[in-house]
């Protein structure tokens, strides 16, 4: 074995794992469609207008609207929290990151419970119930979809822009004042150029997230036949036109990856705003004077409308028998009621529905299993990345581990069907088993897990471990006395966040789901598409509750970790 460098086996093993999880599915959709007539049908036939170009146009419009809206709202909140003396700064800072926790189908369902009109059939929302007439553009299609996407993804822009603003220390501005630059000149010559990369990066992250989203256009666009690449690709795979679906998936990957790649470049460029020269004076906060109250109220309103209000609406809508009267005649029927032919077409409450109970356990099991496996693979990958570099192989591990970040969930789902949906040699087809979902979810959470793993490995491999080695402690002793106690909190917190991602995911699992392997998010989506909104809302609330608990737990662990 001496001809191979140390760690060669491990690197090769991790690489094989990543190849199976990430590279193989992608290669499959490429190979399956190579030379297929579907390419011409999708891109250059009389079908392609409806099949591709209109959905692509809608996708781009939604992506741009999401980017613009997210940067405006996220940038505004970041400026308020970081640069000004607005009251409740810390609270606002926390509120602005909450949308990460809320799955987008929750916000989309809440929108429906308020604005739904009779256009698509089924029950109406609260506003129509009050006798108002809700125009179609407000009830369905582009506007509500864009709203839902923005209210979800402004948190991305907020995080990126706030980090950049925080690094703009007071000295940099005062150096401009020393030069005699006017306020205007300082804003346009110094402050804006310094935050522009972050604004653009935040925008491109929101763009990529917006075009990849499936739940919002599916719930709010499909009923009025507004198609995006993600809903179109879902439809194609559902009706068995898989090759067309795969091509659309590749198109979607390209659209999303181009913008994400551009964003990452901006953040890491040579003009990057990484702090230069260490500590400086704390930035002076801008005094808002009379605008303090109104701006604070506006910011709180934005956070309330995007995170708290949807939850309240969902809760009310899960209790009200009439969608048109959300706050009257509340009943627990949709939660625990027995089947009653006079009520909701005989559907029993969700906790009496055996499929839901199966889905609940299935979702929890998937969440826990995927989180644990993913964090372990992430740890192994981090060890490889941190160790001695082996030409080509180490680089391949790094690229493959972070590739899923560029892949829209639904395109990833399509690729998994393509590879693991059919038997491979002696291996049985995984379609219809939980394994298919588990594999896809593990792959999708990998970038995050590797990040967690790297932080952990960095903690372990340094002086701390060497200090323990100096005492003569053996490997096993160090593992249990030093490494695990140090690493466990970070890893558990990482696993919990992966868990939250898994149970709130719809885009990946919606294509892989079968009635034999029900999961909560798809169940909620199915209920909603069938017009059983109360049940959908109730199931969504269950997901939300689990997410919140896990997030709180993760934050508590992180807080105590340092």
């Amino acid at each position: 074995m001496t001809i191979f460098p140390r760690g060669f086996g491990l690197t090769l093993g991790v690489l094989a794992l990543l190849a199976a999880l990430v590279a193989a599915p992608l290669a499959t959709i490429l190979l399956d469609t190579a030379g297929s007539p579907a390419w011409r049908e999708v891109l250059g036939s009389n079908l392609s207008r409806n099949l591709t170009w209109v959905p692509l146009k809608n996708t781009m419009i939604l992506g741009l609207a999401t980017a613009l809206g997210s940067v405006l709202i996220g940038g505004f909140l970041a400026w308020l929290v970081v640069m000004t003396d607005v009251p409740f700064r810390r609270t606002l800072g926390v509120l602005a990151t909450l949308p990460f926790m809320i799955p987008s189908f929750a916000t989309a369902l809440a929108w429906g419970s308020l604005f739904r009109n009779s256009r698509a059939g089924g029950s109406i929302g609260m506003l129509e119930g009050w006798g108002m007439s809700v125009p179609d553009w407000l009830a369905w299609g582009m506007v509500p979809t864009a709203f839902v996407l923005i209210s979800q993804y402004f948190a991305l822009a907020f995080t990126v822009v706030a980090a950049s603003l925080a690094s703009l220390n007071g000295d940099v501005v005062e150096a401009g004042q020393m030069a005699g630059a006017s306020r205007r000149r300082i804003v346009f010559g110094i402050v804006l150029p310094m935050v522009t990369p972050a604004l653009l990066a935040g925008g491109s992250l929101a763009f990529a997230a917006g075009v990849s989203n499936f739940a919002a256009p599916a719930l709010l666009g499909l009923p009025v036949r507004m198609q995006t690449l993600s809903t179109r690709l879902f439809g194609m795979v559902e009706i068995g036109q898989t090759e067309r679906g795969y091509i659309l998936a590749m198109l979607l990957i390209v659209v999303s990856a181009v913008f994400l790649g551009a964003g990452n470049r901006l953040l890491a460029g040579r003009r990057s705003f990484a702090t230069i020269g260490g500590k400086g004076a704390r930035a002076k906060r801008m005094t808002l004077g009379g605008a303090r109250g109104p701006l604070c109220a506006l910011a709180l309103a934005v956070c309330f409308i995007t995170t708290v209000l949807p939850i309240i609406l969902l809760a009310a809508a899960s209790l009200a028998p009439q969608g048109s009267a959300l706050f009257s005649n509340w009943t627990l029927h949709f939660w625990v009621g027995v089947s009653d032919p006079a009520f909701a077409r005989g559907q029993a409450g969700i906790f009496r529905n055996p499929q839901l109970m199966t889905a609940l356990w299935m979702t929890l099991a998937l969440g826990v299993g995927v989180a644990v496996v993913s964090v372990l693979i992430g740890l192994l990958a981090a060890v490889v990345l941190n160790g001695k570099r082996i030409p080509v192989l180490t680089e391949a591990v790094s690229q493959l581990a972070f590739l899923p970040m560029l892949l829209p969930g639904i395109a990833f789902g399509a690729a998994y069907i393509a590879l693991y949906g059919a038997p491979i040699g002696p291996l049985p087809a995984l379609y219809g088993t939980p394994w298919l979902l588990a594999l896809a979810l593990v792959a999708a959470t990998l970038p995050f897990a590797v990040q967690t793993g790297r932080a952990t490995v960095a903690q372990i491999s340094g002086d701390v471990d060497e200090a323990a080695r100096m005492t003569g402690a053996g490997f096993v002793r160090r593992l249990f006395a030093i490494t695990l106690p140090l690493a466990s909190k970070g890893m558990i917190a990482g696993a919990l966040l992966a868990f939250v991602n898994v149970i709130g995911d719809l885009a990946i699992v919606v294509l892989l789901y079968t009635p034999q392997v029900p999961v909560l998010s798809v169940l909620s989506y199915r209920y909603a598409s069938d017009g059983f909104h109360q049940f959908a809302n109730a199931v969504t609330l269950v997901i939300l509750l689990i997410s919140v608990l896990a997030t709180v737990l993760a934050n508590a662990l992180k807080g105590r970790g340092k």
Binding site: N169, Q177, G180, I190, G277
Partner: protein, 340 residues
């Protein structure tokens, strides 16, 4: 010339700077020296024009630039400031950083001035780099180049060396001294490092709790410290401050030279020596010994306090030593720290 009269700065109710008066001649080098929180940075910011005084006046060359009612904006004062964090603009190249203030000031023939400043700081080869692509020491040079390009008559430095490692700190100290000599500008320099102060300054203002404890040349401070605080702050090593009570060293060795004082006697390291036990010695235990300029600087612990003693470079040092007291202390301070 910079002259400061009764300068006071209040934040809410607390005094950051209280009733400071001093004058530095044209081409002088004033160092504001003191521990953190003593008000030295606030002083500098008032000189720069980034803060306005609450009362008192600042004159640059006879012209009032700030008093209790007005504060002239920075660019009108002909002053440049080097920040502790360098405050380079990360989105501009090295040359861009040096050029921008000139551009803002509508200065003629900028290219020449920029090239000169870069050359003077040895940055010619790095002109097109961005700040994130050069080392910390180079960033510091860029900050200096940015200041000198505009040929300010007054150069202000806010702890410019505190983010550098020890070797670079010495090198940049020499650079700053060189720039000061070459430009002939009047400099004001804030630091908490007395070595920087003693090597760079023509005048030092030792500050404590918003007030100037002593203002004078470095030699003044060493030879005639105005308080026990100054005596214990300047010098390498700083002088020993030995507690005395009712005219007795350590409250137990009476000595007429102490003139019955209670407080501290200032004794420089070179005035103490190691000796055999005797009536004017105190017993001490060895802490450490550093070879220094052909001799040894020995630190010992006696009566719970550390003393610095100069000793010959050779010979064994036992664990228990005896320190001989001088015939008279260099100065005596009362319990308030005032000279007796």
């Amino acid at each position: 010339m910079i002259s400061i009269e009764n300068l006071t700065k209040r934040f809410d109710t607390a005094f950051a700077v209280e009733d400071v008066s001093l004058t530095v001649p044209e081409g002088g080098f004033l160092v504001l020296l003191g521990p953190s929180g003593c008000g030295k940075s606030t002083m500098l910011r008032m000189l720069a024009g980034l803060e306005g005084p609450s009362s008192g006046a600042i004159r640059f060359g006879g012209r009032v630039v700030a008093d209790g009612r007005m504060s002239m904006p920075p660019e009108k004062r002909g002053a440049g400031l080097v920040f502790q964090s360098y405050a380079l603009w990360p989105h501009m190249t090295v040359a861009g950083n040096v050029d921008w203030p000139l551009k803002v000031g509508h200065v003629q023939d900028r290219a020449t001035l920029v090239a000169e400043a870069l050359k003077m700081m040895g940055l010619g080869a790095l002109a097109e780099r961005y700040p994130s692509e050069i080392s910390g020491g180079q960033q510091q040079r860029v900050a200096l180049a940015r200041m000198i390009a505009a040929r300010p008559k007054y150069m202000l430095f806010d702890e410019p060396l505190s983010n550098l490692d020890a070797t670079l700190r010495v090198e940049m100290r020499h650079e700053i001294a060189r720039i000061h000599r070459m430009t002939g500008a009047t400099a004001v320099y804030v630091t908490h490092d007395q070595t920087e102060a003693m090597t760079l300054a023509s005048h030092v203002a030792v500050m404590r709790a918003g007030r100037v404890e002593q203002f004078g040349t470095p030699e003044d401070l060493l030879a005639r410290p105005a308080s026990s605080f100054v005596a214990g702050f300047v010098g390498t090593p700083p002088a020993n401050l030995i507690p005395v009570r009712d005219g007795a060293w350590f409250a137990r060795l009476p000595d007429a030279a102490l003139r019955g004082a209670t407080g501290h006697a200032m004794v420089r390291a070179e005035d103490l020596s190691l000796a055999d036990p005797g009536p004017r010695t105190v017993q001490a235990e060895l802490v450490e010994a550093i070879p220094m300029v052909g001799r040894r600087l020995v630190t010992v612990r006696a009566d719970g306090m550390r003393l610095s003693v100069v000793a010959p470079a050779f010979g064994a040092l036992p664990d228990v030593l005896h320190v001989a007291l001088p015939a008279a202390p260099a100065a005596i301070f009362d319990s308030e720290g005032k000279p007796v």
